[in-house]
């Protein structure tokens, strides 16, 4: 049971990583980040169930979901601000992080 869950979460995580690395649309990159977070959540759940009797894993998932919700709000706000400023969400055209 654990092995399947870990395998699945690894696949999810890699999909998220690849999405972050190769997609250019900021929103899709953002969603891929969410995918990675959820892959981690799945791992937590799986371990928590395997080494049952402790609540730590489950509690952490709630923390992650809370943070992810807040992050989604802030992140989408940034993307909207970016779009208003630049009229694009294509990351290749955005390099304002250069010092």
């Amino acid at each position: 049971m654990l092995a399947e869950a870990l395998f699945f979460s690894a696949v999810l995580f890699v999909i998220g990583v690849v999405g972050v690395l190769i997609r250019r649309n900021a929103i899709i990159v953002f969603m891929c980040v969410e995918l990675m977070l959820n892959a981690v959540n799945l791992t937590f759940i799986a371990f928590a169930q395997r080494y049952g009797g402790r609540m730590t894993g489950q509690v952490f998932v709630f923390f992650v979901m809370t943070v992810a919700a807040a992050e989604a709000a802030v992140g989408l706000a940034i993307i909207i601000a970016l779009f208003r400023h630049r009229h694009t969400v294509n990351l290749q055209n955005i390099n304002v992080l250069k010092g």
Binding site: V20, R24, V29, L91, Q92, I94, N95, K98, G99
Partner: protein, 741 residues
């Protein structure tokens, strides 16, 4: 403040207080301090004047008053160019000249009075076998090495102190007349006083490092005074040459001090003397120490191969030549050998080297002296030659004879130099009045000065007879004592039994004796030649100039008279046995016995004393040669036929070689100076300094940092995708590093 610590060292050696404790010898610290005080006062006067209006120091008035003269000088024979601008010629004396005229000589006279008082106290004590040591403070305490700032008063340092302060005081007085019109007058006396301070430090210091401080100090003052008229480049160059050549010798001296510490664990005279008692005769270490010490002497006392600086040192004012480059500083090497007599007596091979270098130098310099035209150059080569004599003496273990010659030479050579100064002064005054640009130091331009300057004439003849070794002038006694000692030691002594390069010491000593005789012969010739050219024959200065020739003032000729008396009767200091009808025999022998007696006895152990008949023969040969030399010079030169410089024919053949000093300067220039300069310029400067250090080191590291920074800055593209890739790769790298471990 100073004499607080003094009793400790003296009491450490002898049980009970030293016989000199509480006597006038307690004033020993005052002797060097007085000239130092003079240096401070004159130095301040010199500096203070710079803030006032009036003739400024660095020979400014000299150049202004004679701007045309410097230009003419360059057209002259290069040989004489250095000396041409010799004379001080400011129209206005320095504003503080009055104070300096008093302070400069007064401190020296006071120092002489103090040392004479100490001398009388020493005479009152009688036999004194331990030196009187005054400790002031611990100077260099490092682990086992304890070096004190301490003065050592014994018979040898007393003798040197009397010579330095006595002859020094006379030369200071002479300088008042000679330099008074110079714009740098207080600076001159500041340097001169500082020189005497360092010279006293040299002779009074109780250990080798303190002696070395004095040794370097006199070198510094010598440099400053040779280049006293530094606005003329030739003078400044002569100063630099003296300084650099002396560094070579000082290097040897330092090595010797290091070796003493490494092998004896002591660098003070008493400690080294103690250590020397337990080392075997002819050891490698002691021979090495002596040879390195002698390298120092070769530099300071102008022996082959480092003599080349002394003739150039004549660029300085003439009283400087008398004090530093004839009477005191250049004899420091002789003093050093005598001071280290216990070491030298243990190293016969080193002694052979000292004797031979001295003998070869004596002859070599004398031959050059035969054909010089500049009156001071003749005396300079004569000094080199006489220093060689002193080294024959101290090198052959006849320490007293060498020191005796040091003293008499200080008298007659100071007299000769000051006399030449008096002549140059008169010549320059005459040329000055008529605005002539002839060379005031070239003897061909002099001639027949006798009626114009009678005092100088007679006094210089006394000195000439003394240096030529005519009985019973001072030089006769000291020179014959040296020659006799060499001959005696060749017949039986530790040196005669040693060998160098497979040749026995006895043969070396006989050769040295012959060379000494040859040098004595040539000394008589070149000194007579100098006197003939200067004072005899027709006057060659020119019609107008003749009107202005007159004797120097008494402030200059007064010291000459005193030196004349000393040159004539200085030999009475140490009358040899064969001349006992003159008075008490061997005063100096007895006086110096506690210092060098033991070392002398070590050398002569097993040798027989010369029979009186042989001694008479030796003296007869030497005196005969001197007389023949003088007569020969007179016969060859024919005073009546001499002509001024501009009519004189060019020298040919061997005369040309002698005039050009065997081209030694040129050879040194080609073989040493030029290679060093080109290596310094090509390799050290352009290659290592500019290329390696500046290029690769300083700028190279800067370029490297800049390059690395440029590479790093390219990473910061601002593109999120790139950052993400880098992040991912980094994470993977870290993870794989962990999992591979």
């Amino acid at each position: 403040m100073l004499p607080l610590l003094q009793e400790a060292a003296a009491a450490a050696h002898a049980a009970g207080p030293h016989p000199l404790a509480g006597s006038a010898a307690e004033l020993l610290w005052l002797v060097p301090l007085l000239p130092l005080l003079g240096f401070v006062i004159n130095g301040l006067l010199s500096v203070a004047a710079a803030f006032h209006r009036g003739p400024r120091d660095p020979s400014a008035a000299h150049v202004n008053g004679h701007g045309d003269k410097a230009a003419v000088a360059h057209a002259h024979d290069a040989d004489h160019e250095a000396g041409h601008d010799e004379e001080p010629h400011a129209v206005h004396p320095h504003r503080f000249a009055g104070i300096t005229s008093f302070v400069g000589p007064a401190v020296l006279i006071a120092a002489f009075i103090v040392s004479a008082t100490i001398f009388i106290a020493m005479l009152g004590v009688g036999e004194m076998h331990q030196p009187f040591i005054q400790r002031y403070f611990s100077w260099i305490p490092v682990g086992d090495l304890q070096i004190d700032a301490a003065f050592q008063l014994d018979q040898l340092s007393m003798m040197m102190t009397l010579v330095v302060t006595g002859v020094g005081a006379l030369i200071h007085l002479f300088s008042v007349g000679y330099m008074r019109k110079d714009p740098g007058y207080p600076r001159y006396f500041a340097y001169l006083n500082l020189f005497v301070f360092f010279m006293l430090l040299l002779v009074l210091g109780a250990n080798y490092p303190l002696l070395f401080v004095g040794w370097e100090g006199v070198g510094l003052c010598s440099y400053l005074l040779i280049g006293f008229w530094f606005s003329d480049k030739a003078n400044a160059d002569a100063g630099k040459k003296a300084f650099i050549v002396n560094r070579i010798g000082d290097f040897g001296f330092l090595i010797a001090i290091f070796m003493m510490f490494a092998n004896f664990g002591a660098v003070d005279f008493a400690g080294v003397r103690e250590a020397a008692a337990s080392i075997p005769m002819g050891g490698v270490v002691v021979t090495g120490i002596c040879l390195f010490l002698f390298l120092g002497c070769v530099g300071k006392s102008a022996q082959i191969p480092l003599y080349v600086w002394l003739p150039d040192a004549m660029a300085g004012p003439t009283p400087v030549s008398a004090l530093i480059h004839a009477a005191t500083m250049v004899t420091a090497g002789v003093y050093l050998v005598a001071r280290s007599s216990m070491l030298f007596s243990l190293a016969p091979v080193a002694q052979i080297v000292v004797v031979m270098i001295g003998a070869v130098t004596a002859v070599f310099a004398a031959t050059i002296g035969l054909k010089q035209w500049d009156i001071k150059k003749v005396l300079a080569y004569s000094t080199v030659s006489q220093l060689g004599y002193m080294f024959i003496g101290v090198g052959s273990g006849a320490y007293v004879a060498g020191l005796f010659h040091l003293v008499t030479h200080a008298f007659f050579k100071a007299l000769l130099f000051l006399g030449s100064g008096s002549v140059i002064y008169a010549m320059h005054e005459a040329y000055h009045h008529t605005h002539s640009h002839d060379d005031a130091q070239d003897m061909r331009n002099m001639g027949g000065l006798r009626p114009y300057m009678r005092r100088t004439f007679w006094l210089m003849w006394i000195a000439t007879l003394a240096i030529a070794g005519i009985p019973f002038f001072s030089g006769f006694f000291s020179k014959d004592e040296i020659l006799g000692a060499v001959y005696e030691r060749a017949q039986g002594s530790t040196i005669a039994h040693a060998s160098l390069f497979g040749i026995s010491g006895a043969s070396w000593l006989y050769v040295a004796w012959l060379l000494g005789l040859a040098a004595a012969f040539m000394t008589a010739i070149y000194m007579t030649r100098m006197m003939i050219y200067t004072f005899h024959g027709p006057n060659r200065t020119g019609e107008k100039e003749r009107q202005h020739l007159r004797e120097a003032p008494w402030i200059m000729t007064g010291p000459l008279v005193v030196l004349g008396v000393l040159s004539a009767f200085g030999g009475w200091l140490n009358i040899p046995e064969f001349a006992e009808f003159l008075g008490p025999v061997g005063n100096l022998d007895h006086w110096l016995e506690p210092v060098v007696g033991q070392a002398t006895a070590m050398v002569t152990a097993g040798g027989a004393h010369l029979a009186p008949t042989i001694e008479y023969e030796l003296v007869g040969v030497a005196v005969g040669l001197a007389l023949v030399g003088m007569v020969l010079a007179w016969a060859v030169l024919k005073p009546k036929a001499l002509v001024p410089k501009r009519e004189a024919p060019q020298e040919e053949g061997i005369q040309r070689v002698l005039l050009d000093k065997y081209y030694v300067d040129e050879i040194y220039d080609q073989t040493i100076v030029q290679p060093v300069v080109s290596v310094s310029r090509g390799l050290l400067w352009r290659g290592i300094d500019v290329g390696l250090i500046d290029g690769l080191g300083v700028n190279g590291s800067a370029y490297l940092a800049k390059f690395v920074g440029f590479i790093g800055s390219q990473v910061q593209s601002g593109k999120l995708g790139t950052y993400a890739w880098i992040l991912t790769i980094g994470v993977l790298a870290v993870l794989s590093a962990f999992s591979l471990r």
